[in-house]
Symmetry: C2
Subunit: 222 residues, 2 copies
Amino acid sequence: MTTSRSPRERPAKPALTSEGIVSAAVGIMQAEGLKKVTMRRLAQELDTGPASLYVYFANTDALHAAVLDRMLGKVDLAPVEAQGDWRDRLIQVLSSYTTVLFGHASLARSALVSRPGGPHYLEIVEAVLALLHEGGVPQAQAAWGVDILLALGTATAAEHARDDDEAPEVDWSTYVQVIHAASPNHPYIGAIGTDLLSGTPEERLQWAFRVLINGIAFTPRS
Amino acid sequence: MTTSRSPRERPAKPALTSEGIVSAAVGIMQAEGLKKVTMRRLAQELDTGPASLYVYFANTDALHAAVLDRMLGKVDLAPVEAQGDWRDRLIQVLSSYTTVLFGHASLARSALVSRPGGPHYLEIVEAVLALLHEGGVPQAQAAWGVDILLALGTATAAEHARDDDEAPEVDWSTYVQVIHAASPNHPYIGAIGTDLLSGTPEERLQWAFRVLINGIAFTPRS
DNA sequence: ACCTGAACACCGTTCAAGT
DNA sequence: ACCTGAACACCGTTCAAGT
């Protein structure tokens, strides 16, 4: 009487699909961090056993890669079609990419492990290539340049983003002390001092993107 | 009769020291990969219990960071004092840094997690700053530039290096198929085609370093 | 083909108790 | 201060058996 007629009373256990599994995984990640997105925890959430998930994902890395590509769907590619300097619009796309990863450090790290190749990642590659083309960057340089631009965004996110469940980033004053202590034996570090660490991650990354765009545009290949 | 007089028969259990623990950890890493460098496995190697190691390292990440800095001692900084174009010598130092990380992908990944700050890392930073100074790169640009140069080396190693115990890198032909499949909807990817993936990681990284050096030298901050 | 329970072989970290 | 055994709370992955 309770079970067959009224699926709302106890939500019917939904059939497993890759999409559904990834959705559940994203849910866990947003609530508790990627560290908790384990085969066992996910199976529990889906009311099944861990072994069932291996029908859809070969291993935990593959699962994380699928979560990553799902998240990359949030990247804002509108600047490609917008008005304005191509450099600025390229930086907007790259910043959006980085921002998505910034929210989940461990996700950025997984992007380093299994080079992303999902559909959303390809959209981003296409967008970057379109903007480099608009800027008249020689094709050979654009071909190798995309990779560098995205890799630097990924690496920055992996370094600076912190998941909720992780140890907090080391205190700034700790670094200042390290630099101060290093000064006697390291004259160049001493001379530059705290400017080594100045600026927000965002400011530094903006400059880094500009550096790369200039370098890619003006450095011939071999 | 056997134990007290002749330590060679059964090597005396050495007292624990940070240095000794790291040495044992490096040994395990070289034999079986960083994945096996766990508190439990290491304790077993040192003939003690896992809890003992927490006197020296706050957690597994801290242990891996110590292993990383030990490895960074192998980076060849001689080009700093050598003759020749400063750019070429800078690339030599950066290549040496990357090569050390290439041997152990998971180590490179750990460098992304806990920004390295050990003594050997500082030596490398100092070396890079010395060469940028020699090249007349403005100090503000050098200050932020070091970080980018090393981060790109780290990221490249994290992406391309494979540990023995890991899944092998995805087949090149797989990527070619992905690109081919993407062509209809992604004109720029289609136009560039396999040049997106051409070259060895080393060739690409050499060019990337050149791109960065040029960009850093010629892109003013703010 | 898809799903499952149960098992194997591991983990990190803490804590109370010892020296 | 340093070291330890034991415990708690987890993991990934495989496999034989079921539907």
